[in-house]
């Protein structure tokens, strides 16, 4: 109690002010639990990635943060406000880009945005000027008066962001923003997210494509079956889950069994993931290429290839959930 109230009453401290906060947040649909005792804090200016497979509860969490769905229990604070009690104030300062964003197809991009501007109570002149700026920034000025029905998926997505910019939000929440975009458009979109962060906007985004968003997220939370399994920076997660998580691919000819045991005996090697047809994948806590090479040569093998992969979220994710599931089964 004390901890929370002092937090919201304290003057904004640039990097540590929590703008999004969920405490023991739970949502049940009948007997099914969509979100289970979620604890989450996002600081001002951060990009936070909510990662998890389909059905993990990401959308439900986002809807509760916005006050669009009522939590079964738990507490939500957005900019210090309760979205269930103060939805108008929250929604005036938070922009939301739903997954599969839709527009009124028969209306032009401009008309779609002016409707949103009017719903936000923006004066006409301000609205017109902001619409112009936002549309220009999203590179849609050529099509501003075309019906949105003629837009591609990528254009709709950018129009969605233009709409967010209209209300000059402090926080932007995006649900699966890269879903359905081709790789190039997705990369463009991630650049856009970085730009928004640069403008000082706090961003919460959800995704099930882990590798795609890991580059833009300051911190990520791994989500599964309504539970936040673990959260932190990508590096922290790698350290914690993979114990460093460097994967070294060794290709060697010679006595396969001897090579394998020599590699396994190396200090720093956690395990050998795969060993097939003269190829070994070692997981170690640091870059073990040099050690691996001498180990292979030491048992009389011939080194054919050597490569290292830095840890990625995909691996962290796969590993973590494999471990978590195994643990649950045991």
């Amino acid at each position: 109690m004390v901890e929370v109230s002092t937090k919201s009453a304290a003057p904004p401290q640039a990097a540590t002010e929590a703008v999004l906060q969920a405490v023991n947040l739970t949502k049940r649909y009948g007997a099914a639990v969509a979100v289970d005792n979620l604890n989450l804090t996002v600081a001002r200016g951060e990009v936070f990635g909510l990662l998890g497979p389909n059905g993990a509860g990401k959308t439900t969490t986002i809807l509760m943060l916005l006050g669009l769905t009522e939590p079964t229990s738990g507490m939500v604070r957005v900019l210090g406000l309760d979205p269930a009690r103060d939805p108008l104030a929250v929604k005036a300062r938070v922009g939301y880009l739903p997954d599969a964003v839709g527009f009124y197809d028969e209306l032009s991009a401009r008309d779609n945005l002016s409707y949103i501007a009017r719903l936000n109570g923006l004066p006409r002149a301000t609205a017109q000027q902001r619409i112009r700026t936002a549309i220009d920034r999203m590179g849609l000025s050529e099509v501003i008066d075309r019906p949105v029905g003629t837009f591609s998926r990528g254009m709709r997505q950018r129009l969605g962001v233009a709409e967010l910019l209209l209300k000059e939000p402090e926080i932007i929440i995006m649900d699966e923003p890269t879903l359905g975009l081709d790789p190039e458009a997705a990369q463009g979109f991630l650049r856009l997210i970085r730009d928004l962060k640069h403008d000082g906007i706090t961003i919460l985004l959800s995704s099930h494509l882990l590798h795609q968003v890991q580059a833009v997220c300051d911190r990520v939370g791994l989500f599964s079956h309504g539970r936040m399994m673990i959260s932190g920076t990508v590096a922290e997660l790698a350290q914690r889950i993979l114990g460093g998580g460097y994967r070294i691919v060794v290709e060697a000819s010679g006595d396969q069994r001897a090579i394998k045991s020599a590699l396994l005996a190396l200090p720093g090697v956690k395990k050998i993931e795969a060993a097939e047809r003269e190829q070994f994948v070692i997981v170690g806590d640091r870059d073990l290429r040099a050690d691996a090479a001498s180990a292979v040569v030491g048992v009389g093998g011939g080194l054919v290839g050597l490569d290292v992969e830095a840890p990625s979220l995909d691996e962290i994710y796969a590993t973590y959930f494999k471990e978590a599931t195994n643990g649950a089964n045991a």
């Binding site: 959308t59 809807l63 108008l88 739903p98 009124y104 409707y115 936000n120 936040m228």
Partner: protein, 335 residues
């Protein structure tokens, strides 16, 4: 990065506060009304119906005009005849309205809510600083205003044609009576508008909602009469053929038939547009006491006569809207 891994063990109060929300529920209402009205007025769907009702009005009035021109000098309510007189092959214009208005209302409202879902605009719109209340009421009011606009235009057209064709202006009472008739027609449309919104909230498919609305409309237009007499015969059977029994059966039948908005509307229009009507249905000798048969009722008396029907129309509109409201508030918002 200062943040470290968070462990799911923060101690904080579990607090759910659903009581009392801040800010007006009507924030953004007029933005919704404006947008929806613009949509209706520019939609092809509405334009087709407008043309249809326009043709009906012109046709009906033209047919009536042929008939009543000779009696202009004797009839003090000649303008009201424009609405009520049937002349082969045209039924009276009010008859047309009693089934065209529901059609227009359903056409306006059947995709009000589910259309936002199927276009995936619902969550985007509700993420703006407005309550659901404003969205629903805004859509309803936009429909009601559109309907009012169309009906008022038709009313003006008929009055205009009357002035041109009959060569005299309507008197004050005719204007007053036909305006009350206009209000009754608008609320009759309001019922079907609200019903369409209920269905558009219940059914996620606009086509299903449209079909459901049209089924109810067909049911009341075609089958309600049969249902009514069947029910009346079961509820108050005539076993011995006493006049009391027959009377009771007729009364039951009338009471049941008034559950239909069509009956309410027809009675209300009859009461206000035909000053000679002094009662609906069964006229008992006691009601005729002291009345000069055939003499028109004064305006105030006519209003008193159709008042229950008019309030019935308004009440049904409000009840159906409330139902749509409750359903919509409970609905899960998911793109």
């Amino acid at each position: 990065m200062a943040q470290t891994l968070e462990l799911p063990s923060q101690s904080a109060p579990v607090e759910t506060s659903t009581r009392g929300r801040r800010g007006s529920p009507w924030t953004g209402l007029w933005a919704v009304v404006g947008k929806e009205m613009a949509d209706h007025l520019s939609s092809v769907r509405m334009q087709i119906l407008e043309v249809l009702i326009l043709l009906t009005a012109v046709g009906a009035v033209y047919a009536v005009m042929q008939n009543v021109r000779q009696t202009v000098s004797q009839d003090p309510f000649i303008f009201l005849r424009l609405f009520t007189t049937a002349r082969d092959p045209f039924p009276a214009f009010v008859g047309f309205l009693s089934f065209l208005v529901p059609l227009i209302a359903i056409a306006i409202s059947f995709d009000a809510i589910n259309g936002e879902f199927s276009r995936r605009t619902m969550s985007r719109v509700l993420a703006q600083p407005i309550y659901r209340d404003a969205l629903l009421l805004g859509k309803f009011l936009a429909g009601l205003f559109t309907l009012s606009l169309v009906l008022t235009a038709i009313w003006l057209l008929i009055m205009g044609m009357g002035i041109l064709g009959l060569g005299l202006p309507p008197n004050g009472e005719e204007v007053a009576r036909s305006l009350i008739f206009l209000v009754a027609t608008i609320f009759y449309g309001g019922i079907w508008l609200a019903l369409g919104m209920v269905f558009s909230t219940i059914f996620r498919q606009p086509a299903t909602a449209a079909l459901a609305g049209l089924s109810v409309w067909l049911f009341f237009t075609i089958f309600w009469g049969m249902v009514t007499s069947l029910l009346a015969r079961t509820l108050s059977p005539v076993t011995y053929g006493f006049p009391e029994e027959i009377l009771r059966q007729l009364q039951t039948e009338q009471a049941i038939s008034r559950l239909s908005p069509n009956t309410l509307y027809v009675e209300a229009t009859l009461g206000i547009l035909n000053p000679a009507v002094r009662s609906f249905g069964i006229l008992l000798p006691s009601q005729l006491e002291g009345a000069v048969v055939g003499a028109p009722l004064p305006l105030a008396q006519s209003i008193l006569l159709m008042w229950p029907q008019l309030t019935g129309l308004i009440a049904a509109t409000i009840l159906l809207f409330a139902l749509a409201y409750v359903l919509f508030q409970r609905q899960e918002i998911r793109a």
